[in-house]
């Protein structure tokens, strides 16, 4: 007699998306920004990014091997971490910094807490903050179109001419140094992956369309920064121009679209995500204006990462039929 009913436990709705497909989509969405970086900073941008990605995958494999855990490097999550870490470094970053940052991200921040899905901080961002250990190297931003060839593992001092990033120039009161258009298209100095707001937005739209991320965090984050910037427009500047410059400079786009939306380290409810994004925005504006560093995106996201447990608690949906 044929079976009439199939009985099985939930979940009953299946979706083809797996960790691997999600991570692949993220890698695809980051590619335009990488190509642009290659055009602005020279092919060494690819060397740095690739070095980080390869090191991350290697360290993931190594820790899992040593700890007798299942090897999951094929899910591409380590590659994404590496690519994002590379995006957060200047194109002059020496090779050992890429390796040290990757080791920190994967071994300490990710695997020590139990591997994928269990880390409470974004590994790439935590590694970036760790790399502030070498303040000179991590802030050696080359001027735009000062292209470095890919075969240089360490950059000679003469080539690593540090130029002030737009944010540093704005902090120093030089408001005319860059135009909003330069910032939007990415003809400025900075970290490898953060310069072109336009290409990062395109990547973000791709992720939205593929339903890899939802709109809540980026919109709340960018919206809060825009709103708060309106309150502090310096004299002699158009509000719109200033807000646009704040939105497009530094690592804000990269952070809001690709780092703050990390599944593992952001809240799961829509309300929680809005709150999370807004918190990041407030902290970013405060750090940019009053902090010791000119950029505060990494710190803001990391601080909010560590508050996610609390956001989850206060935004927990009401049980159907339960008490308010």
């Amino acid at each position: 007699m044929p079976e009439l009913l199939t009985v099985c436990p939930s979940p009953h709705i299946k979706h083809p998306a797996t960790t691997t497909t999600v991570m692949r989509d993220v890698l695809i969405s980051l590619t335009p920004a990488l190509l642009w970086a290659c055009y602005v900073f020279g092919s060494r941008a690819i060397t740095v990014t690739a070095l980080c990605a390869i090191s991350c995958v290697f360290f993931e494999w190594l820790t899992q091997k040593l700890l007798h855990r299942p090897i999951t490097v094929a899910d591409l999550s380590a590659a994404v971490t590496g690519m994002l870490l590379g995006f957060n470094l200047p194109s002059t970053a020496p090779w050992w910094m890429c390796v040290a940052g990757s080791a920190f991200a994967i071994v300490l921040v990710k695997q020590m807490f139990g591997g994928i899905g269990k880390n409470f901080m974004n590994p790439a961002l935590a590694a970036r903050v760790f790399l502030f250990s070498w303040p000179t190297q991590i802030s050696a931003f080359p001027a735009p179109f000062h292209r470095l060839p890919f075969w240089q593992l360490t950059v000679k001092e003469a080539d690593a001419i540090a130029s002030a990033t737009p944010l540093a120039q704005m902090r120093g009161g030089e408001m005319d140094a860059v135009s909003p258009a330069d910032l939007f298209f990415g003809r400025v100095g900075g970290c490898i992956g953060e310069i072109s707001a336009l290409l990062l937005l395109i990547g973000g739209v791709y992720l939205l369309v593929r339903r890899v991320i939802t709109w809540h965090i980026p919109v709340a984050y960018l919206g809060t920064v825009a709103l708060l910037s309106c309150l502090a427009v310096p004299a002699g500047m158009e509000t719109a121009e200033y807000v646009l410059m704040q939105l497009c400079s530094g690592g804000l786009m990269l952070g809001a679209i690709f780092m703050a939306t990390d599944y593992v380290t952001s809240p799961i409810t829509s309300r929680g995500r809005l709150l999370f994004g807004a918190g990041c925005g407030v902290l970013t504006v405060l750090i940019r204006r009053f902090g010791g560093y000119v950029e505060g995106v990494s710190f803001s996201i990391l601080i909010m990462n560590s508050l996610v447990w609390y956001i989850e608690r206060i935004t927990r949906p009401r049980v159907f039929g339960g008490d308010r």
């Binding site: 303040p135 000179t136 802030s139 540090a162 010791g292």
Partner: protein
């Protein structure tokens, strides 16, 4: 009644213990007092000597100081007056920076030295380098970062702290009418 007695006993015991400890501390204090004063004096002497670059100098602490400074000394070599030395604390990145500023009678800075600081090692501590502090020598009046003196790149807060300290020292001296006011 017994309750009162007990309270009295507790109070008495605590008093006795405190007295015993106070005795120990005062004994140690007596034993070490001179040595500590010597150490502090040697420290002060070393920084003043470093600033004025002379071994045979003498200095006298002055009284009635402005609030912002912890000490002002008149420095002389034999009969010849060399200038003044101001000791003060200025808020840095990692806590207070203990600063010594030597100023000539003409109001020009003779030298700046850092007695102690807790700035970020390898970064903020660069402001303590002799080569950096030499940038202050010969300057006078209200100083601004980037104009009269440069900051250490990456250590803006520490540089600003030293600068603020030096400015305070100059102000204090002109307040005490030891040097002329700033040229307007």
């Amino acid at each position: 009644m017994s309750k009162i007695l007990q309270s009295a006993k507790i109070a008495l015991v605590l008093t006795l213990i405190s007295a015993l400890i106070a005795g120990v501390v005062s004994l140690v204090n007596q034993l070490t007092y001179e040595k500590i004063e010597e150490n502090l004096e040697a420290d002060r002497r070393a920084s003043i000597t470093a600033i004025f670059g002379s071994e045979q100098l003498s200095y006298e602490p002055m009284s009635e100081l402005p609030e912002e400074v912890t000490g002002v000394y008149t420095v002389s070599e034999g009969d010849r007056a060399l200038g003044y030395c101001v000791n003060l604390l200025t808020g840095g990145f990692g806590g207070d920076i203990d600063l010594m500023v030597g100023v000539g009678e003409d109001g020009r800075i003779i030298g700046v030295s850092i007695v102690s600081m807790s700035e970020t090692p390898g970064l903020g501590t660069k402001v303590g380098a002799a080569s950096y502090l030499a940038g202050y020598i010969g300057k006078s009046g209200e100083l601004t970062l980037g104009r009269e003196v440069d900051g250490v790149s990456g250590a803006t807060v520490s540089s600003k702290a030293v600068l603020a300290g030096v400015n305070t020292a100059l102000q204090a001296l002109s307040q005490m009418n030891l040097i002329g006011g700033e040229a307007e």
